[in-house]
Symmetry: C2
Subunit: 332 residues, 2 copies
């Protein structure tokens, strides 16, 4: 099955090609998975092997503005920097747009503003593609539902499926070959005391994309065979933690899930190692603080940075131990 088949199945009719506004504008929050998405059951459609569960960062994400332009090509500007047309990033965006313009009747100027480092494991492609999809929907007034937007954005970047809501979001793996059931939905749970702390070790572009790392893990890591079972267990435990507001259980489950994901990567060949020396130093520091009784946990995505998980009451303590941490509220 091809991406264009999915787009057709959602629109059912020829995709409206006339803009309704002068510009399309949308913000999408980045999301941090507490139970990770790692491994695809369909590489073309970005269908995951397992479900996953994330928390949206309220004010962190991507704001995308799209305006039609009278040119035979698209232009992309990211944080006020023009992206070369031949770059992977620009090509990926243009190919995504092609899904919605079968006759290439229009081209656009895309302006993306992100307040997170790009490609450093902070789900920049997730909020990037989610905001792009929403901005397109706005520009052409397609009136797609959030569920439909989630399915379509997923064709650009898997975890973009989760970036259409705030709070806790579950992306269901689904079982259908066309992925129509591989869609995210918000959980009706709030936890205003919850805090996420961004601990940035490096803003450098990561040495291997999460897309490539994921595929290498699936193809070459013997430990990957146990990953689906781990996710199934962790999802059940995490939901229990959310319903009972058991923070230790949430933190421990998220941390163990992240470490297990990175463990599957280390067993790939060539090994995928997103740990930097600074990452390991921070982990040991977190473990030492926990030994002293502090309720502090972390998660780590496909990049060297850690995201601290703690409760509002520990904010002062966290700041004292990690002076460079950027603390984010996850509920209003």
């Amino acid at each position: 099955m091809k991406k264009s088949d999915v787009v057709q199945a959602i629109f059912r009719q020829p995709i409206p090609q006339d803009p309704k506004h002068e510009k399309g504008l949308a913000f999408a929050p980045t999301n941090i998975a507490l139970v990770k998405y790692w491994g695809k059951r369909d590489v073309e459609l970005n269908l995951p092997v397992t479900s996953s569960l994330s928390i949206a960062l309220l004010d962190k994400g991507a704001m995308t503005t799209i305006t039609l332009q009278d040119q035979a090509y698209d232009t992309v500007v990211l944080n006020n920097q023009a992206i070369p047309a031949h770059s992977e990033f620009a090509k990926r965006i243009s190919q995504f747009l092609d899904l919605f313009r079968p006759e290439k009747k229009w081209h656009v100027h895309i302006d993306i503003k992100m307040n997170i480092p790009a490609a450093a494991g902070l789900a920049s492609s997730a909020c990037g593609f989610a905001s792009l999809m929403s901005a397109l929907n706005d520009l052409f007034n397609w009136q797609l539902t959030l569920r439909q937007l989630s399915i379509l954005a997923r064709l650009g970047s898997g975890s973009a499926a989760r970036s259409f809501w705030t709070g806790f979001v579950e992306w269901h793996a689904g079982v259908q070959p066309d992925g129509m059931d591989s869609v995210a939905e918000p959980l009706a749970i709030e936890w205003p005391m919850l805090r996420v702390g961004l601990l940035t070790m490096s803003e450098k572009q990561k040495p291997i994309s999460s897309r490539e790392a994921m595929q290498r893990t699936v193809d070459s890591s013997i430990l990957y065979s146990a990953w689906p079972k781990k996710v199934m267990q962790d999802l059940a435990i995490l939901k229990q933690a959310l319903h009972t507001k058991n923070f230790s259980l949430l933190g421990g489950t998220a941390e163990s899930n992240a470490l297990t994901m990175h463990a599957t990567m280390l067993a790939s060949w060539p090994a995928v190692c997103y740990f930097l020396p600074e990452t390991i130093a921070a982990m040991h520091q977190i473990w030492a603080l926990r030994q002293q009784g502090m309720e502090l946990y972390f998660t780590q995505d496909a990049g060297p940075n850690l995201k601290l998980l703690f409760l509002e009451t520990d904010t002062h303590h966290v700041k004292a131990n990690f002076p460079t941490v950027e603390i984010v509220k996850v509920f209003e």
Copy 2:
């Protein structure tokens, strides 16, 4: 089955309790596993889940001297430092000795000299128990075979089973409940060009013993289920590498095996992480050198230090990149 049953099965008759010399003396080399021993099928007898394969370090290891003493207790001196009688280490040694003195007719003074850091992942307990077992055999003139010594020393520390030979040694997991087939044997392969480089990040006692880390992994790491398959594959590949003198294959297999072992630990809960920031920095440096074409690999045991694997021809290059490395020949 108890340890004492194994000892009885080997001696078959009452264990001779009269010393034949004034002192028992033996050296045992430490060994570095290229395919690791991780996980026990019998905790009491130190029977492993899988076979393993190691290389002995020629001049690195433990020299143990045992003399009878006219006291009701044993004394242990390690590198000229008296070990407190109530310490775990001294108790472990006395309990091991008890296996050979059912009536507690004798006590000894044990002097161990090791030229490797103790308990920092350099198989100090392996060469320690192997040399202790050999020294006992010498003191009482029991005339045990190397095969019998291997089985008996394994009761003290699993990987001690491999420390009775130089060169490449395979420890067969065995299937018998009494472990009489869980014994090491040397491989008839020499590789004089092979070098091991000890890269010491920390000589501090490790935060968690390999014994405890191993058990925690088996009990709590979901990834451990894939470990036996990994070892089976790696053993076959490594033997092929040894027979064809394919160094890249040897290095890659050993490195992947070590990383996979550490990966199973990271997925334990609480996570076991022997990586220090310095460990990760060295790994990234090794990977960068390999990208440049250098044939340099590493392995890592239950400690923060790395052991570099390379061929004699790269000695100069290795020294230039790792000024503190201690290079060890593994064949005469």
